[in-house]
Structures are given as C-alpha cells and as structure tokens.
Symmetry: C2
C-alpha cells in the first residue's frame, strides 16, 4: 500500500469541499499538498493558511503540478470535472490514484469512455457532507464528522488503492463508507440529496412573508437550511440526474397527495395509521445505520 | 403584578410539553407546583423527581387542585383542552390566570364561546418547541432555548398578566415572543409547523428502502427528524386546521411543480435564477428574526 509520507496530493478546485478535504488531509502526514483553483486569491490564501504547500491558478502551473501528484482529488462540479479530465488526462503522473467528489456519477463515466488512461487508477467518490456556506472561505473539515462517504469503484480499481482511500476517509471523520455502482449512487442520491434540496427550495419559494421565521418552532428552519443553495451547482446536479430526480419528485408527490386527501376527506383513522407507520419507518431507518456502524465488518 | 413566591402553579397534562414547562418553572421560585395527568405513574414520577410538589390523576383530586392554582398551564391537545375547559370551568380559582399550549387556536376559542368565566383571565399561548420524543419521559426544558413563543391575547386580558407570562416565557429560554390573533396564528402555523410535518411524513412515506440513510448527507435527516411524529396528536392538529393546512399544501405543491417542470424542460437559466432568489429569501428570513432579537423594543 502507498505510504502517506511518500505521497504528494493535489486538489483540483479549492472550494467549500476541496478546501475542507485539503484541511483534513493536511493533518495526516502527507509528503506535500498542492492545490489548483482558477482564483489566484484562493491559492494564495490556502498557502498563507498552510493548508497547501504550493499551488497554481493557470494551466502551465497546473500541468507541472499534476505531473508531481500521486493522489489527486478532483473537487469540481460534474461538468467541470468532465471537462478537466478530457483536457488534462495526459498530464497525470503514471500510476497516480485519482478520485473525485461529484454529486452525480453516470454522466461522467458514461461520457469519459475510453479517454481514461489505463496506467492511472480512478476511484469515483462522493463525500455526503456539505454546508450552506460557499467557497474556500466557508471550508472546514468539521463537516465530515459522522457522515457517509460513497465510493463507486470501477472493476479495474486496485484493492490497495481503495483501501488507501478508505483509511483517509475514515481519518477525515466519516463513520460509514458505502461501496456501490454509479447507477445505484445516482438513484439513491436523487432521493436523499437532490429531492430534499428541491423540497427545501420549494418550501421557501412558496412563502412570501419574510417574517415567517417569527412563527417557527425549528421545523421550518431544519427543512429549509439547505435552501441556502449554491444555485448554479445544484441546477447542474439536478439537470445531470434529471430522469432519477423527476421519478423521485413524482414518488414524493404521490405520498403528499395521499396525505392531503386524507386531511381533506377527514379520514382520521387512516391518517393516524399512516403517520404511525411513518414514525416507525423513520426510527427504523435511523436504527439500521446505527447498527451498521457497530458492525462494520458485516457490510 | 403577581409575585412568583405567592403563586401556586398547576399543570394540566404532564406530557412532553407539560413536563418540560413544569421542569422550567420549578427553577423560578414559585410557591408550589401541582400537576394533573390521567397517568398515575407520571404524577408519582414527577413528584419523585421533585418537578411537582403534589398532584392528582382523578377528578376529585383535580377539582381540589384547581381551586388552589393561581396560574394554570393547560398542556393538552386542542380537543382535550376544549373538553377539559367545558368540564372544569367552574372549578378554577377566582382571579386565576389560565394559559394553554395548543397548536391550533381558533377551534378552541370559537367553541368555548360564552363558557369562559369573566373572573378568570385566559391568555392563549403556543410555545414553538418540541421534540421527537414523547411523554413525560422525554421531557426536558432545554427544548425552549432560543425558540419562539406565540401569544394570542384576548381583548379582555389584563396587561399585568400578559407581562407576568412574558417574564416566565423569557426565563424559560425563549428569545422571541410574538403577539397575534388566533386567526393569524392558525394561518402561519399551518405553514411553519403543520405543512413541514406533512412534508417530512410524506418524504419518509414514499421511500421503501430502509437502508437509505446510508446514502444521506444530512439533508434527509434534517428534513425527516420531525417525521417521528406523535400520530394521534398531529392528526388532530391537521384536522383542526384543515382549511389553512390544505391551502398551504397547495401553495407548496405549486412551487414544487414549477421546479419540476423547469427540470423536466431543461430550463437551466430559469432554475438558477429561481434557486438564487430562494437562497437570498431564506437568508433574509433568518436575518429578519435575528434583527428582531437585537431590537426587541422595536416590535
């Protein structure tokens, strides 16, 4: 297995997630941490913060940096990640381990096709963490504590490299790593993440009274915190996963409609039963993840 | 104004909210704290916990207790509160200050009509706090910290009594008190509280994969925590506020539908603009409440 003290790490994009990951890896004894961002101010700040040792903000510096990196985290949106891979595929160091953090997977790996070099090992990933803040200025590695991390390994991936990444992920604070396919990732994420963001946004969108927060008891705040959304990024995620997301929205609308009609028709008994089963299901959903944490070997 | 050390307080219902309020008032130097609950075990436990000094679980004891109470918190569901008031109106101590915590208001005060005695002062209230736990066993007064409390005073209320209640509410940890009408309360609450609970319930209801929490990044957890719902209580709240709630569900469905159609039709530019305005609106909603806390005299 690779040794951290001999590994040079490169971050492509030092935004909220790239910045937070770099901050976390900084503490792990890697040989060197490098960063690329289109904003020179971000790279200079990250060097001043000692989050990265050196960095680049234009393509000459980026190419030089890539040739040095044993491990690369691509921390861009899906379309930017795809564009980056198409442009710089030839510049990765032979034998490098590459990973990413994009919130949709199929769109990248369907389009990347034969572009992927066989002498690099690309393990797609998705840290299930975030924040209502934006950019490097909002980055902190505390967002990773007790979260899920999804890996969608490819058949070609070397087990040693997957194991190496998993150790890093665990040291970042994640307490649950799921391995699945790109297809299942995109289906599940359409529900747990994208649908939730659409609902939160619609809930804020439909209310005109800005003083409404004076009447809330925590529910509205909890449901709409994620409505403080990075609009271009989430639009891209929604569009890249359109089919799955539309299915999930329609699935949710059906349940909402069923409850609405029970309320409208005064079907008290039916509604109590439905809500009781919802309560039990939600408790069970929590218990299942807890149980996995206690028996990680059972997965 | 009333003096706490001369005031006997009675709690009708020592569930999650009644229990939590009693725990909070216990620390405030009242002369005596009494409790009534239909469960003898709860009363015995609350006495053992020294949350109440004495209590009752049947009507003879309740009537005796009521005659002693200068301040009564009715901590029952709306229909139970209405039934309690109809049954025990003649038993309140003359001059007593009565308040409640019910999540809907019009249904009570429309039906209570002329039953209300003129020698008691009834100030309806609604602490905007809660928990996914249930009953006295789940009660803790920490749920009140930095929350909203809504009062819907009646024209007959004595200003001194309202001021007395507000001091207690502030000492409980609430940092924002709103005074409004029963009608506005019910309209606003249909959005901030009831709609949010329906959405959370529908979101859990529509998903069959109990392991889905392995794929979530906090959003699903935040949006569905309140789906661990007290089914009979929330069904009653929904039914008691049916007209307002159905309007709010439909309002939300319209916004959700607009976003769904933008995603389906690939209207990227429109969706980015809509999400950007949602982000700004949500930030402003937070700022407005913050600003109120800083200038309470301006309300």
């Amino acid at each position: 297995m690779r040794k951290r003290e001999e590994t040079v790490v490169g971050f492509i994009g030092l935004g909220l997630m790239g910045g937070a990951l770099a901050m976390g890896l900084r503490k792990m004894g890697f040989k060197k941490i490098l960063g690329y961002d289109i904003k020179a101010t971000v790279i200079k700040k990250a060097i001043a913060d000692e989050v990265i040792d050196d960095g680049a903000w234009e393509s000459v510096g980026l190419v030089r940096m890539l040739k040095e990196c044993d491990l690369v985290f691509i921390c861009l949106t899906p379309m930017d990640a795809l564009g980056f891979l198409a442009l710089y595929m030839e510049d990765f160091k032979p034998g490098a381990l590459i990973t990413d953090i994009t919130g949709v997977k199929e769109v990248i790996f369907r389009n990347l096709g034969k572009l992927l070099r066989t002498d690099i090992d690309y393990v797609p990933g998705h840290p299930m963490a975030g924040s209502e803040k934006e950019g490097y200025g909002g980055a902190t590695d505390s967002i990773f504590v007790n979260r899920n991390y999804i890996l969608t390994p490819r058949p070609e991936n070397q087990p040693d490299n997957i194991a190496f990444l998993k150790e890093i992920i665990t040291d970042l604070g994640f307490n649950h790593i799921v391995e699945t396919t790109c297809q299942i990732h995109d289906e599940k994420i359409a529900f747990t993440s994208q649908l939730c963001h659409v609902i939160a946004a619609a809930l804020v969108d439909c209310e005109d009274d800005l003083s409404i927060t004076g009447f809330e008891g925590g529910s509205f705040g909890d449901l709409t915190r994620i409505a403080m959304i990075n609009a271009p990024m989430w639009t891209e995620l929604f569009m890249c996963n359109r089919k799955n997301l539309l299915e999930q929205i329609e699935k949710f609308e059906k349940s909402l409609d069923a409850m609405k009609s029970m309320i409208a028709e005064d079907e008290e008994k039916e509604l109590i039963e439905r809500l009781q089963s919802v309560r039990e299901k939600r408790i069970e959903m929590g218990n299942i993840r807890e149980a996995k944490l206690k028996r990680p070997e059972a997965e």
